[in-house]
């Protein structure tokens, strides 16, 4: 088991190097540091000295991938790619192009993101499972049909409309919660409620429909027939047998997103003005701050890989038949 995890972590390293290469190629080969300097210093009236100074301050004045002028192993290490990537593996993200400490920003902005994403995940899971069970209980009736139709309809609405509609209805018409903003401590609660509710509602369509198929697949198994033959009521079959078994694919499917919860949601955070990592990324995209986008891409892929490993581990935890070798 531990051996397996170590091997998976070792496998992750080439993948992360690949991720770094891709982002590096996107940012530095297509768009040379000279261009970047000019954009940040303003397009006009830039002296070559100012460009050189800007590049030197950020360490962009080295060769890109291969330093032919250096000695020995320095040939590979004294380059932009090496310097910018090695720091990433130690989670040292360096400074943004504006000069702010990215690691500090990420640490402070992580919590608002988590405050939204975690409740959305937990409540959403509970609500989706409840709806799916309801539909599975009334399967092949009009309740089930109506539920499926509703789910497909809800799936077809763009997430943006849930946010816009919810903001308009709850905040502007009913004045129940503030439209946007954030606050520390317990005051944050009133800002969190609306994004969480909207996040849950927006996910019902896809989630409940997906879980319904899982439940229906379980109800056609042999052990369900046996349970019914014993004379158990439909309800106790559903809760006692089907729910437990259906939770295996549901939970293991959900585990992969848990680490990504830290990243927050790009769209809803910027709509609600929450100072989380999602809005951080969007701001960086709009300000063309490549250092931040690079750090976020790297962080995202690390968390995704962690999620994959966690998924494998969770399989062994819920299903004792599976052994990781």
């Amino acid at each position: 088991m531990i051996q397996y995890i170590i091997r998976r972590i070792l496998y992750a390293i080439p993948i992360l190097i690949g991720v770094n290469l891709i982002t590096f190629a996107l940012f530095f080969v297509v768009n040379t540091p000279d261009n970047m300097a000019r954009i940040h210093l303003g397009m006009k009236h830039v002296t070559p000295e100012a460009v050189a100074k800007w590049k030197h301050e950020r360490g962009y004045d080295k060769p890109l991938l291969w330093n032919g002028a250096a000695q020995g192993e320095k040939k590979a290490t004294d380059t932009i790619f090496f310097e910018k990537s090695v720091g990433m593996f130690a989670f040292d993200f360096g400074r943004s192009d504006e000069g702010r400490d990215i690691a500090y920003d990420i640490r402070t902005r992580m919590w608002p993101s988590l405050a939204i994403a975690l409740p959305v995940f937990v409540i959403g899971l509970a609500v989706n499972v409840t709806f799916a069970m309801l539909m599975a209980f009334f399967r092949a009736t009009y309740v089930d049909l109506a539920g499926v139709v509703l789910c497909v309809a809800m799936m077809s609405i763009s997430g943006l409309f849930y946010i816009i509609g919810g903001q308009y209805l709850v905040s502007k018409l009913l004045h129940l919660t503030p439209i946007s903003g954030f606050d520390g401590g317990f005051n944050a609660l009133k800002f969190i409620v609306l994004p969480v509710v909207i996040g849950v509602v927006a996910g019902i369509g896809t989630g409940a429909r997906w879980y319904r198929t899982i439940f229906l697949e379980e109800t056609s198994r042999d052990y369900v027939r046996t349970a019914r033959a014993k004379g158990l009521s439909e309800l106790s079959v559903l809760f006692g047998h089907v729910l437990k078994n259906a939770m295996i694919p549901i939970l293991t499917g959900a585990v992969v997103v848990i680490p990504l919860l830290f990243m927050g949601s790009l769209i809803s955070e910027s709509f609600f003005g929450i100072p989380g990592l999602g809005s951080y990324t969007i701001d960086a995209i709009n300000a063309q701050d490549f250092a931040i986008v690079r750090a976020m891409v790297f962080l995202g892929s690390v968390l995704y890989i962690v999620g994959l490993i966690l998924t494998d581990i969770s399989y062994t935890l819920v299903d004792p038949r599976i052994r990781l070798e």
Binding site: I39, S158, L160, T281, I285, Y304
Partner: protein, 457 residues
């Protein structure tokens, strides 16, 4: 150009399918399902608008006496623009509500006597034929709508009659019997649903055509363009993103997926490594980064992209490519698994034993056997791509802001929401059009999956 290739491809596929019974069967199953047919009709309507909008040409200018050569106007038009002529040209000054006859904002008007007042001015085109707009408007709308409904009714009746006659010939029964078949839904194809859907569509088209000639059906936007026209134009953008992305993604996914599954060994390792790496990068971030880079590149090489339209086209193409790059991994993984399974089957092993080459085995034996997976996942992904366009445009990395798209409409509507009273119509238009397209795509993909997935049979 690309479009015609695509249409030719679809036609070729249809011709092939018609000749082979085993390929025809899933389509038959699809034809028999009610929601499948209804959503297919709606989708076809959307595609028709998109195709009409893609047929571009340039109108010749007036021929000059001293010059024998014809000059073409710089404006590129499409067949759809021609059909919707008045909608395109009737520009108001700024916002106006749906069916309004006055502008949305007050302006200083000069009265005939030389005095000035501040009031809502009359629209130049919306309801311009009315003498007393306040009193006559409701009646006029009702009359126009009734006329439209009447046209629609006549058209529907004609269509039903034609269908009855055709069905009677096809099934070899009397027209009366054919009518009973349709009415009671005894035929295998759900004609009733089909007729109802087409009838609704015709009704909508008739109403829209008559009403929008006189009014701005969904109001006008900030610069006075008709929102209904913009929403219709956006259909092409949405469909383009869906199809172009699929075209970009398909060769990657097919080739690499099958190769990984078929050859195993180091080929498999390399391909698996590639797609794990790509899929571990958060999709939105990769797209955002790539589009940003393109933006910077275009800014620094402005001489290469001379017109606004060329820039918008390049950006759309690039967006599709990068969407394709991020989305081929899912299909690739599925195909790899399927190819792994297939290569152990007896018929492939028999082919290998006969000395058939790898390329022939893949082309003749594996490819036809994974086509159902490809088809299902294409249709499933389509609705997601349409929705993704809206989100990306919101983040600012979607299609060019000068292009008509639902994402841009929503993005613009964000500021309009804050106005008091609110400007809600462009948001509503984008919502309704997107909802109908995505809903029918979702329903259709469900049916396609039911019809093509061998596990469901």
């Amino acid at each position: 150009m690309l479009l015609f290739l695509l249409l030719a491809g679809v036609a070729f596929y249809a011709w092939r399918v018609r000749r082979r019974e085993h390929l025809l069967q899933p389509w038959r199953r699809l034809m028999r399902s009610r929601s499948g047919m209804a959503s297919a009709v709606v989708l076809l309507a959307f595609v028709a608008v998109g195709v009409l909008d893609s047929l571009h040409f340039r109108l010749p200018l007036e021929r000059q006496a001293n010059n024998a050569e014809t000059h073409y106007s710089p404006e590129v038009l499409s067949v759809f623009d021609l059909l919707a002529g008045p909608l395109r040209k009737q520009l108001e000054k700024t916002y106006s509500a749906p069916f309004a006859v006055h502008l949305f904002t007050k302006e200083t008007i000069e009265l005939p006597g030389g005095k000035q007042t501040r009031d809502f001015p009359r629209l130049k085109y919306g309801g311009a034929h009315l003498r007393d707009p306040v009193a006559d408007r409701a009646a006029d709308i009702a009359v126009t709508a009734a006329t439209g409904a009447l046209y629609a009714l006549v058209l529907c009746a004609v269509m039903t009659a034609l269908l009855v006659l055709w069905l009677a010939r096809r099934r070899g029964v009397s027209p009366g019997a054919a009518w009973m078949l349709i009415r009671h839904g005894h035929d295998e194809i759900p004609w009733r649903t089909l007729l109802a859907t087409i009838g609704l569509l015709i009704l909508f088209v008739c109403l829209a055509a008559l009403l929008s000639a006189k009014y701005h059906l969904l109001g006008t936007d900030k610069v006075g363009q008709d929102v209904f026209y913009l929403a219709l134009k956006s259909i092409r953008t949405g469909l383009m993103i869906g199809t172009l992305t699929t075209l970009v993604m398909l060769p990657f996914a097919l080739l690499l997926g099958i190769m990984a599954g078929y050859f195993r060994g180091w080929v498999d390792d390399v391909i698996q490594y590639t797609y794990t790496t790509l899929s571990s990068i958060p999709g939105v971030l990769l797209i955002a980064a790539a589009v940003l880079i393109l933006q910077v590149y275009m800014d620094s090489n402005q001489e290469m992209f001379d017109t606004v339209a060329a820039r918008a086209d390049i950006r759309l193409l690039f967006l599709c490519i990068i969407l394709g790059v991020t989305s081929w991994t899912g299909l690739c993984r599925l195909l790899r698994g399927e190819a792994l399974k297939l290569r152990e089957m007896e018929f492939i092993q028999a082919a290998t034993a006969f000395g058939v080459g790898h390329f022939r085995i893949i082309a003749r034996h594996i490819l036809p056997n994974v086509m159902h997976i490809v088809l299902i996942s294409i249709v499933l992904d389509f609705s997601g791509l349409v929705l993704a366009e809206a989100v990306l445009s919101y983040v600012g990395v979607g299609v060019d802001p000068s292009m008509q798209s639902w994402g841009n409409m929503i993005n613009g509507a964000r500021l309009e929401m804050a106005r008091e009273p609110m400007v809600w119509w462009s948001l509503l238009a984008a919502f309704v059009f997107m909802f109908v397209l995505v809903l029918s795509a979702n329903l259709f993909s469900d049916r396609v999956r039911d019809a093509f997935d061998p596990r469901v049979r």
